[in-house]
């Protein structure tokens, strides 16, 4: 697919998503979630489509998309591993766990392994402070992380 027809395809699919949500009160966030489900990200080409349909400026939509770390402009890996770096987890050794994860996967924050298996993201509080340090793989949380509990998590992420 050429770049141009790719962009046109994104525009068509994005238009359908925007139209499906346009009647909602405050439709922008539901639209962004649906786009992320559809494309694995919020493609930049979709931003003008949303802006036009909702009668916003491109800048406004861009401001919202960029505000939320969970919305990306390019797709993440097959898995997304989020490691908590907030205060409670830090106090329970979370940074050491985080270093361990980075060296085990060979990537830094916001990066994806070359095989596309996993993207590593920092997160600031999963609401699991009582079970710190905590992480979340593809939406499923794990608490009280240590070497033993980390290993199967990394195995799963690499798959």
């Amino acid at each position: 697919m050429t770049a141009q027809s790719g962009a046109a395809d994104v525009a068509v699919r994005a238009t359908a998503i925007v139209d499906a949500n346009a009647a909602l009160e405050g439709p922008l966030l539901p639209i962004l979630h649906d786009l992320q489900d559809e494309f694995g990200c919020v493609p930049e080409e979709a931003v003008p489509v949303i802006a036009n349909r909702l009668n916003l400026s491109r800048a406004e939509v861009h401001g919202v998309v960029s505000f939320y770390p969970d919305f990306h402009h390019s797709p993440s890996g097959r898995h997304v591993l989020k490691v908590c770096r907030a205060e409670a987890c830090q106090s329970m050794g979370g940074e050491k766990i985080a270093d361990r994860v980075r060296s085990a996967l060979g990537i830094d924050w916001h990066e994806t392994t070359p095989d596309g298996a996993v993207t590593l993201e920092p997160v600031y509080c999963l609401g699991l402070c009582s079970c710190a340090p905590a992480a979340m793989l593809d939406g499923e949380v794990t608490g009280r992380l240590d070497e033993t509990r980390l290993a199967p998590l990394l195995d799963e992420a690499r798959r």
Binding site: E44, V47, A51, N55, L56, S57, R58, A59, E60, V61, H62, G63, S66, F67, P69
Partner: protein
């Protein structure tokens, strides 16, 4: 003289009429309900430290510097977001507040470069000021942590650093100096209404971004300058300040571009203009500006500007530079010879809508008193002459009824034949602000202009009529108002002629004027016409704003009267928020009409045949005036071709480019024996001139401009005329060379003469303008400080007059050979014939005129975007590049006329308004076909222009 420092009250003024009294730092302050503590303090002369607040935008409360303590309340609320309450006791400076403010400043400065000495904003930086005000002495955090300042940190690229964006020709964006106060983002949204900027990211990673994080030039940014004005640091900075340093003195003056008439501070260093900054007290613009007035003044120093007088025997000769004495003596002797040989009426003059009232007044005086005839006309002939005629007939005054502030009280706006976001950008921003507050909009325009739909604005109705069917549509709106009983009977009975109303009502009620019938003529669905009429008649304060899309038609005057009928029938006149508002094209087109520029009218719109009026001028000028109207521009050209009209003095107008049927204009000029062009540049008309008198810019002279709201604004000289004389002085020198014996020493004396002879200006003096800033005529004993809203309580002419507006289709019709309709307009960054804006960096946005064509019509002709196309009408043909867009309806094509190479007026016909001869620019039947490039005419023209502009090398030791 020094810089003009305007107080920044921090938050906008409250409009409440209820007052509150409180105590701030021991002083009692009384302010309107809803005022912020910050503003209340500022009104008492106390400036609370602040960074994110400025009175051009609403309070935001993000910088945490403007904290105050309030007795009886806990904590330290932000003074910008806390409204006043009765009997509050507020302290703006306490040990606790000092401590907090210093701490906040430390954090700001820890992520800001320390290059104050070499920074372009040094001395004009609010961050610097605040550091001083809070007594910042030390930054405990150091400068080594995460930052947005350094390109490289510890040898590695700093991912947070962003380089300077210099893409905009007039200002730079340096994110390393940004404190993320978001004043720029809010100014773009609230003041300009473009929403081109945003805050990207969150927390410490927040940065200002244009569009989707792109260069300013690539984003939606329209370069209005509001963000630059709002920025408290050097993040957004004028390039002229970066290049030249800060200005040291300033004078308030009036922009010389469109009819909005924005007030600016011309900020100077010596005789160099450093920048133009919109003036908050300017009553037309209220502190806002557009890319033209704010930035596009570079033409004043352009290399093409001619500074010495020039003459030549024949238009095929090269120009010869001569002294002022020689040029004027030559002109006077030629003019005398022509009148001797061909008679008194063989001469004429054209006044300029770009020049001041005073200059225009003395040009018409030169013609009437000096030439002894009434052959004077002005470029309003080709734009708003139908407005003058139509509004005079119906209301009794040839001008708009409101001030621009009126839009703040409007509930429903009908916008017809105007494209304010391009043509009148500052008014457009004020209109958009009102629309975002909930006012409704009806757009009547063949083209889908930006106001039909753009971020946060959407017209309730867009009636995309076929060009030329304005009268039919307006009568159909009136049909709905009358037949559905939506008219304001009490208003009509009280203020209008009831019998005339009944005649008119019978006429509009006729089924042939129903929306269903008019749909067949205009192509606009009847339901939309009905909906729009109901909305205007019942939606509250209804105001009509219109432009050249109304006037430049064969039924231009009829359309103006149809608008007036509609406003009278719905009672939408005589108070703020309503009215009929022509958006005037040029800075002083209202003024040039007021000053008696038309062949049949003396200043103040009094007919030349009126003996009493003539008597006033005859006594003062000590001459006998001709009581017959003189020639209009088209008649002068016809007479020139016939041989009876031989010489003309043209001040500041390029008739060859701006008037219809270019070939006819060229033939008329070529037939004359002495064409005198008085202008900044060798314009297109000058290609046919024998004498060229160099003109002065608005920066080089004193005077007044009158804008679209009848507001007389001062123009103030900030530098000496580079050509030696202000334009009024040149006209006086010419008059005196002809033996008139004038001795004006300052334009204020000309204004005194205007006031002494013209009732609507009777009270205008330079002293009054100094005191009031500006006044709107009529200004006389009855209204000593002017008249913001006209026809309050009753019409100027007595009873409002309803005029039957029969629709007569133009003779310019489409057919098999010319199946498309061409209509013309403007673009934001260029102005009129482009003589000025083409000589500025504004060309980065619009380097050539394009032909807009609907995809359907383009496909039929095999035209792709960017192809050269041949545009032909019954009058002529030209070539330009196509732009394919669905902004225009199928069957309609559109172009601008800013570039002489395009020669759009070769295409337009010589059909004109039945009453005023205003040309029918907005409708021409055309055909469009692929072509290889410029037409033969364009190439011939280009060659002729090149030849005609040659200037002979100066002779040695000419003294």
């Amino acid at each position: 003289m020094s810089l003009i420092h305007e107080i920044d009250y921090g938050t906008p003024a409250s409009t409440s009429e209820e007052a509150v009294t409180l105590t701030i730092d021991g002083f009692e302050v009384t302010v309107p309900v809803g005022t912020s503590l910050m503003r209340a303090a500022a009104e008492a002369g106390i400036q609370v430290p602040k960074l994110c607040a400025t009175d051009m935008v609403k309070s935001f409360g993000s910088c945490r510097l403007c904290l105050v303590e309030i007795e009886g309340r806990r904590g330290t609320p932000a003074s910008c977001t806390t409204p006043v309450a009765p009997d509050m006791v507020v302290h703006t400076q306490t040990p606790r507040l000092k401590e907090i403010r210093r701490g906040v400043m430390e954090l700001y400065i820890s992520d800001h470069p320390l290059d104050c000495l070499t920074c372009a904003a040094n001395g004009d930086c609010e961050l610097q000021d605040m550091a001083g005000e809070v007594g910042l002495r030390d930054v405990r955090y150091g400068y080594d942590g995460a930052n947005h300042v350094k390109a490289r940190d510890n040898g590695e690229a700093n991912p947070r650093y962003r380089p300077k964006d210099e893409s905009n020709p007039y200002f730079t964006f340096d994110p390393s100096k940004c404190i993320v106060c978001s004043r720029c983002v809010r100014a773009c949204e609230e003041v300009q209404g473009t929403f081109a900027l945003t805050i990207e990211g969150r927390g410490f990673g927040s940065v200002v971004a244009a569009g989707q994080d792109e260069a300013f030039l690539a984003s939606e940014c329209v370069s209005c300058g509001a963000c630059v004005q709002a920025c408290p640091t050097a993040t957004l900075q004028e390039k002229s300040v970066i290049d030249n340093g800060l200005p040291e003195h300033a004078r308030v003056t009036t922009c010389a571009y469109c009819g909005v008439g924005c007030s600016f501070k011309a900020e100077m260093r010596g005789e160099e203009l450093i920048r133009m900054v919109p003036y908050k007290d300017g009553k037309a613009n209220r502190g806002h500006s557009c890319v033209k007035g704010r930035f596009a003044y570079g033409y004043a120093n352009h290399k093409d500007r001619i500074l010495n007088p020039m003459i030549r025997e024949k238009i095929t000769d090269p120009w010869r530079e001569v002294s002022w004495e020689e040029a004027l003596a030559h002109t006077a002797s030629e003019f005398r010879r022509i009148q001797h040989q061909y008679g008194r009426s063989a001469l004429g003059g054209i006044t300029s809508s770009r020049c001041t009232n005073e200059e225009t007044f003395i040009v018409q005086k030169l013609v009437r008193a000096g030439f002894g005839n009434n052959n004077v006309d002005t470029c309003a002939r080709v734009c708003h002459s139908p407005t003058g005629y139509g509004l005079k007939t119906t209301f009794g005054t040839s001008a708009g009824t409101q001030d621009f502030d009126s839009v703040e009280k409007t509930d429903v706006v009908i916008l017809i034949g105007a494209n304010p976001t391009d043509g009148h950008p500052v008014f457009a921003s004020r209109l958009k602000k009102r629309l975002r507050e909930g006012a409704k909009l009806i757009v009547i325009d063949p083209r889908r202009i930006d106001l039909v739909r753009s971020p946060h604005i959407e017209a309730s109705y867009h009636l995309p009529l076929k060009p030329g069917s304005n009268v039919a549509i307006l009568t159909a709106l009136a049909h709905v108002v009358v037949t559905e009983g939506l008219f304001d009977e009490a208003f009509i009975r009280e203020r209008c002629d009831w019998d005339e109303f009944q005649d008119w009502a019978t006429f509009v009620s006729d089924p042939r004027n129903s929306p269903e019938e008019v749909e067949k003529i205009s192509g606009v669905p009847a339901a939309a016409i009905r909906g729009a009429a109901r909305l205007y008649a019942t939606g509250g304060n209804g105001a009509v704003y219109y432009g050249l899309g109304v006037t430049e038609h064969s039924q231009g005057s009829t359309t103006v009267m149809a608008i007036a009928n509609l406003a009278m029938a719905t009672g939408n006149l005589g108070r703020p928020g309503v009215g009929v508002n022509p958006l005037r094209g040029q800075n002083n087109v209202q003024g040039s009409c007021d000053m008696g520029s038309f062949p049949h009218e003396l200043p103040g719109y009094r007919h030349i045949s009126d003996e009493a009026t003539r008597d006033i001028f005859e006594k003062l000028w000590n001459v006998t005036l001709d009581d017959e109207p003189g020639l209009r521009i088209p008649n002068m050209l016809d007479a020139a071709v016939d041989g009876s009209f031989r010489g003309i003095y043209i001040q500041g107008e390029d008739i060859l480019q701006s008037d219809p049927d270019t070939k006819h204009v060229a033939a008329g000029l070529a037939a004359m024996e002495c064409v005198v062009v008085h202008d900044l540049f060798l314009n297109e008309t000058a290609n046919y001139a024998h004498v060229f008198l160099p003109g002065s810019t608005f920066l080089e002279k004193d005077g007044t401009f009158t804008n679209a709201e009848r507001r007389i604004n001062r123009v103030r000289r900030v530098m000496a005329p580079k050509n030696g004389y202000a334009d009024w002085e040149v006209t006086q020198l010419l008059a005196n060379a002809l033996g008139c014996g004038w001795n004006y020493t300052h334009p204020r004396e000309i204004m005194a003469e205007i006031a002494a002879t013209t009732p609507s200006f009777a009270g205008v003096t330079y002293e009054l303008l100094e005191k009031e800033g500006s006044v709107q005529w009529p200004c006389n004993d009855k209204a000593p400080t002017g008249t913001p809203v006209m026809h309050v309580g009753g019409f100027q002419r007595g009873k409002g007059k309803f005029v039957v507006t029969e629709y007569v289709a133009t003779d310019e019709k489409t057919g098999p050979r010319f199946p498309l309709l061409l209509t013309t307009g403007r673009i934001l960054t260029q102005y009129n014939v482009g003589a000025q804006t083409r000589r500025t960096a504004n060309t980065v946005w619009h380097e050539e005129d394009r032909l807009e064509i609907h995809p359907h019509d383009a496909e039929q002709r095999g035209i792709k975007d960017g192809d050269w196309v041949r545009l032909a009408s019954r009058s002529g043909e030209t070539s330009l590049k196509a732009r394919i867009t669905d902004r225009v309806a199928p069957g309609v094509v559109y172009t601008t006329f800013h570039h002489p190479g395009t020669q759009a007026n070769v295409i337009t016909t010589d059909f004109s308004d039945w009453a005023t001869n205003c040309p029918e620019y907005k409708v021409t039947a055309v055909q469009v076909a692929l072509s290889n490039g410029p037409s033969d005419w364009q190439q011939e023209y280009e060659e002729q222009a090149r030849q005609a502009r040659r200037i002979a090398p100066a002779m040695e030791a000419a003294e």
